[in-house]
Amino acid sequence: MPPEVAVKPGRHREASLYHALHGAGAGDGRSLAQLRESALRAFEDSELPVWRRSGFWTTSFAELDEGLLVPGGGAPRAHDAGVPQFVADAIPERARAGRIVQLDDAIVHVELDPRLAERGVILCSLEQAAEQHGELFTQWYSKRLTIDRHKLEAANAAFWTGGAFLHVPDGVLVEDPFEIVYAISGPGVAQYGRTLVIGGRSSDFKVHEHDLAADFGEAGGQSLHAGAFELYLQDNARCRLAQVQDWSAAESDCARPEVFDASTRFVGVGRDAYCHWLPALLGGHLVRHHLELAVSEPGGDMAFRGLFFCEADEHLDTFAVDLHETGPSGGDVHWRGAATGQSRTSFEGLIQIDPGAQKTHTYLQIHTMMLSPKARLDAIPSVLVSADDVSASHGGTVGELDEASIFYMASRGLDRPTAVRLLVEGFFEPVLGQLDDEPLEELVRGKIAAKLAAAREDIEAYATAR
């Protein structure tokens, strides 16, 4: 009998959750049924999570309706096969290597370039992978992800359905991106998104994830996305991973969707492998992300970019970890974010260099821009170094709109909203441009422009107040 997964009730209340996952996950060769069983116990023994950074912020999921959490408790199953219209409308048409779409709790669409299928690429639901690709699944599933740190993580591990599985075999190079979509159709949904991606030796590919919700109707209401994402790159593999998350984008005169999102994402970079990871976190009622990029074997290298835009009454709590478990390794972390409305943004960036990760060189920078007098934004960089032959540093800026720049542009005939948009786009450009993908860049630019237009009065008020 494998050992029980230790469950420590109340542990989720500690600030210690701002620690790297660090170390083995729950997988450890156990069967999916065993893992679900352990996770269920952790789920039952814990309360809705609260994250605290003493003196800075509290991120509490206490207002989430617990009735949503258990499957069958009101969550409608998605029966319609095919890509829902609101997804088709929101994500630009483009060349893709493959696409998998989960609506609420079920996969509704899978497509894969047949030429890639011939070369051994697998793209299917994670449910299907557990049944049909047992060896790969058992080797990698939850290899580095835990299942019991908090109630929502446990809920995901216990209850997930659908899910996305991608395996790019050794030596396979793919030009167009694989697209993974998690979509929520309306209020009352608990979506336990679970993604496992494995990049074989010397493979080279791109993954784009889109997270979005439909119009929630006049009544509005809550939904939950509790996500778990893991990506492992074996020797010499290369991956560009991008995510466009915006749960609040649906155009509507109705109530804003209240999507709660508590997700953990882990990317493990193997020997001489490389990952370029760029999450664009653009909306959600209450969002808590643990994002961890770990260089696990010598020669691994990574670029960790991110951008966020928090508006209205949203709360975004991001913990981004740049973990170096061995050296030599490289890291380059660069985040940019802006805030409007009465939004609350909490960002912590951690560089952690383990003992033995000698000859690691990494840099963390976080730049923020305040666009509203009522928004609050905290960014904390931290460095935890346990090796002596390394370089690790961090920097950052906190900015506002520069009135001199706005006057300059006005003197060329550009009105204030246009000037503000150019400034904010320019602010994001050093990260945005690194998406290195025209349709995705346009999508994100469009979203930023829409958020600025929505916050126009706010931005005016802020300028006048200064």
Partner: protein
Amino acid sequence: MADLEITNLHVRTEDREILRGVDLTIDKGEIHALMGPNGSGKSTLANTLLGHPSYEVTEGKIVFKGEDITEAEPHERAKSGLFLAFQYPVSIPGVSVANFLRMAINAKREEPIRVKEFGQQLQHAIELLDVDRAFTSRHLNDGFSGGEKKRAEILQMAMLSPDVAILDETDSGLDIDALRTVAEGVQRLHDEQGLGALIITHYQRILHYVKPQFVHILMDGRIVLEGGVELVERLEREGYDQIRQEVSASAA
């Protein structure tokens, strides 16, 4: 009626009155020089003409092409044909010179400019101002040298074809070659497009390359002397102090 008519303009910033009754008229096709010592109010006048929010007009008015623009928004003034070449142009990271120019041109038009037409205009301006083609794909003023910034200002002026341009100490910080290029650019826009210009300068240098028809001397927020190009030569000989003494003697 003149294109730009400034009447009895009084301007203050937060703490003090800087312009104390300025009268000035500029027509399209005329080149005016506005000279004066540091602190006399030259840059205040330039910024006020474009509607900088830090400067408050307390008396008098600015009329441009028959419209009272004293309270108009800065971008409206620009769209009606005024232009300011800044003394210290700010950098706009993330926006290329070419993209910025296209946006500025389109702001003045109903229909967006066609790619080909824009390309031709840009090519013409590039040749006129002797700048490198690669220059236009760089982010506007971001990491530009002093000379490059000033060329970028004149490039924008050439592309936007204003009726009246105000050049705020465009000559400061330029080496002699850059100064000649910039000045010749202004002269050619005047000759080719009938540009009216108010060249604000502390020194006489630029006026060796651009010939003003009218020269105004600003001191302590008022225009104290006006004349033709001979005033520049006199200033070169005598300096501001001498003129200040004469003015205060005649006022006494």
